[in-house]
Amino acid sequence: MIVDFLIPLISTVVSVSTPILLAATGELVTEKSGVLNLGVEGMMLLGAIAGFAINFAASDPQFADSAPWLATLAPWLGAAAGGIAGALGALLFGAIVLGLGANQVATGLALVIFGGGVSSLIGTGYVGMALQPFDQIFPDSLAQDPVYKLVFGYSPLVYFSFLMVFAVYWFLNRTRAGLVLRAVGENDISARSIGYSVVGVRYAAIAFGGAMAGIAGSYFSMVITPLWAEGMTAGRGWIALALVVFSGWRSGRLLLGAYFFGLFMTLELYAKASGFSFLPSQFWASMPYLMAIVVLALMSARGRGGAEAPACLGKPYMTDA
């Protein structure tokens, strides 16, 4: 009984948390390289429409006879397209801030507007269309089992989000390339003086951040609600940005922060549906934001404390010459 109740609850938490985690993981890498890209929301929307459009095109019944494998592949192509679209948006941002030395904050905000505008323009033809949800990878015996689905019942993108958190942790802390990326973010002049290409590293970090945001966006349009609606990410990109800061630029805390946000948003809904109306509903609605911040603030108070932001975050750096 309790299992029947808890497992769907956990599944809701996972589906709320995953896109935030994906986008925040990408932004973490971008920021570690010293670039502040505020355009996460815009890149997510680009990813959402690209993922939907490609998935929709590939699952068209006209291919059912000639290429039946295409429909199986469609959501994977969609997720890849989402990543590519997000990365392209990010590279545009990169060209402006790295190539032209423009202000990163202003350019990032412009990217939000750009992503929203382009996605709604492309999306006009897709309003009212629906897809098969991209929600299961394991066979029914595991994914539909009332107990095993706790582990096996999710979209591939959920497993991907966990994989990426650990990959990013490993990359940043255990590899030479990660060390170079952090060095570029901490002191661009020094990194340059010992022969590393600051601009090159930052382009790569920006593209990675964009790809992750794009995949996060495709999670909205292919997994949570397999449809396209303008502005469907409804501000989650900003949450992802805030999480990177509150996590103190650490991937482990990012994972925790994203899941605390998801947990409290889900508990908010359960509290309301169960009749906890002694507190105004706006209070419950603010809980996920508050609790994610409180938890992360407590953790950094217990830790070393102090500023953990990459020293060059947001500072313009133009040329490797």
């Binding site: 507007i113 709604s120 309003v127």
Partner: protein, 358 residues
Amino acid sequence: MTILTRRNFIKTAAAASTLPLMGRAAFADEPLKVGYIYLGPVGDFGWTWAHEKGRKAMVDHFGGKVVADYVENVAEDQSATPVIKDLAAQGHKLIFTTSFGYMDQTLEVAKAYPDAKFEHCTGYKKADNVGVYNNRFHEGRAVQGTIAGHMSKTGVIGYLGSFKVPEVVMGVNSFALSAQAVNPKIKVKLVMIDSWFDPAKEAAAAETLANLGCDVIATHTDSPAALQVCEKKKIYGFGQGADMSRFAPHAHLTAIEDIWGPYYISRAQAMLDGKWASDDAWWGMKEGAVVMAPYNKSLPAPVVAAAKKIVDGYMTGTYDVFTGPIADQAGADKVAKGEKMPLDKLAGIDWYVKGVES
């Protein structure tokens, strides 16, 4: 021709190339300029989409005599004031503000532009040049509640709401009362998500309601997200604002379709005739403003008959779901037996009926 906002500046750029053409048309015969303020994007396939359909119907109806612009994604806070003001300053003589949260902003701008006429949707504050209009959506909710009462096996049904505003409270109460008329023991679980448009949260809320035992869920937010969850969980749901059956062919039992076109046409006509006056329009099934989408083929015939009976009752004026006895959540009597709740009371309603868990 669209107004520049954060989201649609690209569309504007495309539209701008047609500006010279429009300018010429304007010289030929000064058309009536009508402005619309939208809450969501026109592509939400829900509330805003329905208003946009109404706007297009009006423009088509009048040919070149009426032109209409809109601004989408306008937040329900102080930032709406300058947007409404801009429309008025650009010479829009009739401005529709299409969500409850624009009430005070509309009145504020109306004071500064006494020549322009304003119409505020779902509100209750009027002025000489501000009218209010709404549709009696609760008539459709009564149909949904009747169906839910028949179709629920668990005796628990869900209502996914946005904010506690009269328009939503009315819907909840109508849904609950009509379901109770079928099954007196039925419970309605209510979740407000504090947003009109947030597909991910709408989906999470629908999953929550399903997990708490609801097997029929009514939606009062703007995307088909909850319906898709219903389809996946093999429970029932209703479309909001439009026929959304293609998103959930099995779960979608019916939908309340918002038809704003006839009202917008009548008001623009009143402007052209110089007969516009501030009024308090509240159209329903009878006027063709609230229409039920086709019933799902899986619905048993007696349930469809019961639903149609409610529709007929509203068409002929013989049925009103807000007929006493009605008690509030705490059990206090609110409407005496046999009495009907007066429309002005209904328009400002802020309490839930017995059997609603919120």
